[in-house]
Subunit: 302 residues, 2 copies
């Protein structure tokens, strides 16, 4: 069974070619750069435009990453789809290739579904994948998916599948929700916040780290706070992270992340997004880069 | 180019086997029964649990329907997915096999997307499918998909793709929205309401018909009102449809539709739903059937 994960992971933005095909070579290079910054690889997160990719495209990218020697023990691909059959296919592939874990959205098309229905979905996935190496990190992001996990549902899943339900990414943006989970003190259950703005608070309350959009552009500094959260200057470091985050979040998130990578790498191809997203215009991109440079922001080695 | 559609269509509930696989034989029989009631085939709608099926499962079902001789000129499969690549693959398949139209959700994972982004998605789909037979019926269902179509966006799509953008299913539940579209008087643009409760009003204002959940169980009566909306007893017929609809909608919609088909066909297999939905319990199912029988409801020939 893979070791459970902690630390900082990036939901990695997915590069596209001019004709909107996934660009595996560029993604491989980005993953290698993020690993060099000591940040783990949550490919196929919300920020990866994962739900704008087909299952076949995702499996192809996973295979290319593995062939390129990217460390699967640092990988937590998103594998939760609307359709049970899709989730099973993609999850089984990720486990078989040795991924440390999978980050799993609940099925998100139907709204107002019950805890019983979401439980049944996860039970079916676990039974059908049928692999004791499967480590599921629940992906709770109600602002986007609308469907989420109640604390009682999480406890039920952990109770029935203690070897498989490994943790959660809480992207509710609601610290009270994260805190309610931390207070249950579930055995070796890894609680990641979905924004580094909660990283220090999460660590001080027994959390496992963060999986955050901004780790695409500011990985080393976020990891530094994770490593040194007990240091005297931790609050100041947190404030510094918050300032960078706020500069990026002043623009639409995914286009802004891609524009930032393009500005600091000099690779314009990074600007491309798939519909329904729209790339950041050049003026906004320039202003964003300027506001980051004013904070002495850099992306060394990119 | 296929003729544009009007009348009553059913977003057909999808039967599953005991192991949750789609049951093509049972779906074929149900489509044939619905055609015998003069109702068109909007397979893969919301009520079909379409987003709980993979692209491969949907293509296989379409192929099986065609092989069985089900009339593709009466078919409007749902083909709008989160991923552009999936939408293109499924739509291209539906057009190539001769479907009269496709019912297309906007990409629905990312929220708060712009009209420009949704427009770009549809433009890419149309260009990539590249088939002059493509007839797109937009699927507007903001209560579930959250992402929808503004009236201005629809007009922009019609203006740029007049031979392709054929109509809309308005499942907003908001007559004012339907009326705002009807007032634009777009040339040969087919406006379907998403509930038969608006059918008479829609017909009196120049609409094309309805595509409604309840057409799974009450097809002949709904079609009768469509055919005879100018008759003296139309308002009474509308009220009668509303009563049946309200009896069904007292329970969770999709499980209730499937339970009704099971109760009136005697085929228990119809009760099965895929997670995250949960089948109606037997007590509720019996009470629902009883309330329908009290209104002299029947499903002749099922």
């Amino acid at each position: 069974m893979p070791n459970r994960l902690s630390g900082v992971l990036s939901p990695i933005v997915t590069p596209f070619t001019n004709d909107l095909a996934p660009d595996a070579d560029r993604l491989i290079a980005q993953c290698q750069w993020l690993l060099s910054q000591n940040v783990g690889l949550a490919v196929f997160g919300t920020n990866s435009e994962a739900n704008s990719l087909s299952i076949g495209e995702k499996i192809e990218l996973l295979d290319r990453l593995k062939e390129a020697g990217v460390d699967t023990e640092r990988m937590m691909p998103g594998t939760g789809c609307c359709a049970l059959s899709d989730t099973v296919e993609l999850t089984a592939h990720a486990v078989q290739m040795g991924c440390a874990g999978t980050l799993m959205l609940p099925p998100f098309y139907y709204k107002g579904v019950s805890d019983d229905g979401i439980y049944a979905n996860f039970a079916e996935v676990i039974e059908r994948v049928g692999n004791s190496d499967l480590q599921i990190y629940l992906y709770h992001i109600p602002p986007i998916a609308q469907v989420g996990f109640s604390v009682d549902l999480i406890e039920r899943l952990i109770t029935d599948y203690p070897d498989t339900i490994a943790g959660i990414k809480d992207s509710s943006g609601d610290w009270d929700n994260t805190h309610a989970m931390l207070e249950r003190k579930w055995d070796d259950f890894r609680i990641f916040v979905g924004s580094e703005s909660f990283l220090l608070t999460n660590m001080r309350n027994g959390g496992a780290g963060c999986i955050s959009a901004t780790a695409n552009v500011n990985p080393a500094a976020i990891d530094h706070l994770y490593q040194h959260w007990q240091a005297d200057d931790a609050d100041a470091k947190q404030q510094s992270l918050n300032n960078i985050r706020e500069a990026v979040m002043a623009y639409p998130m995914i286009p802004a992340l891609k524009a930032t990578v393009a500005e600091f790498s000099g690779e314009d191809a990074w600007r491309t997004v798939r519909p329904p997203l729209v790339a950041l215009d050049r003026d906004s991109s320039g202003r964003l880069a300027e506001s980051l440079r004013c904070q002495s922001f850099e992306m060394p080695g990119l």
